[in-house]
């Protein structure tokens, strides 16, 4: 059973648009929700992360929205740029756990 479901699988937006990537989870024991960004030929890198005690977190053009009751969290990229074209992964982790479980990834293409 997939612990975190990510959608869409791929996304194409125009430069300046606001792509939104969604993740849903079932286990209420999860308490850490990061997003990772992976460029072709590179390893994933932490982009932004949120804990369940807040509903939103912003870092630059990247925002996580968190809905605890719906067990969903989303990544929004404001004023998207071609340089944001990458694969984005959500992940979940339990308190006291070293393990991250990743979603299946979303390939984002930002067209000039």
């Amino acid at each position: 059973q997939q612990q975190v479901k990510q959608s869409p699988q791929s996304l194409i937006v125009q430069k300046g648009g606001i792509p939104i990537i969604n993740c849903a989870y079932e286990n209420t024991a999860f308490d850490y929700f990061p997003w990772y960004q992976q460029f072709p030929g590179k390893g994933p890198a932490l982009l932004i992360a949120i804990r369940p005690d807040v509903s939103e977190k912003k870092e630059g053009r990247f925002t996580i929205s968190f809905n605890k009751s719906a067990k969903q969290f989303s990544l929004h990229i404001m004023d998207s740029q071609p340089g944001d074209s990458a694969t984005y992964f959500c992940a979940v982790s339990r308190a006291g756990s070293y393990q991250l479980t990743f979603g299946k990834g979303t390939k984002l293409s930002v067209i000039p």
């Binding site: 990061p34 590179k42 390893g43 994933p44 393990q99 991250l100 479980t101 299946k104 990834g105």
Partner: protein, 111 residues
């Protein structure tokens, strides 16, 4: 000054061979990981070591054996390579729970 490094970057080999991938981190982290990323980009945890002790051991064929000589190094040895082992293998490290820092990956191709 690379944080998490892996060697080699590319590895092409024949079925049935044995190969190793090396990983080193200079971040002073206690925990290291091996992930497999398949052709569909799915990232799957394989193993994790904390201070040289195995703490995560997912369902992986026993042809795969991790070895941690010290907490800055975690190597992956693969015996009797199969076509299905072709993938990108990532090493990662973390200072504690949650945040993980990934290496650049090793692309393994089994012919």
């Amino acid at each position: 000054d690379t944080a998490v490094s892996q060697t080699p970057k590319y590895l092409v080999t024949q079925m049935g061979n044995d190969k190793s991938i090396k990983c080193e981190q200079n971040l002073g982290h206690d925990t290291m990981y091996w992930y497999k990323q398949d052709s569909k980009k799915f990232l799957k945890i394989m193993f994790s070591y904390n201070n040289k002790e195995l703490i995560i051991n997912e369902t992986v064929p026993n042809r795969f054996s991790p070895k941690s000589p010290d907490k800055a190094h975690l190597n992956l040895h693969i015996n009797s390579l199969e076509l299905g082992d072709s993938a990108v293998y990532f090493c990662a490290s973390s200072p504690g729970f949650h945040t993980q820092y990934f290496g650049p990956g090793t692309r393994l191709t089994v012919l």
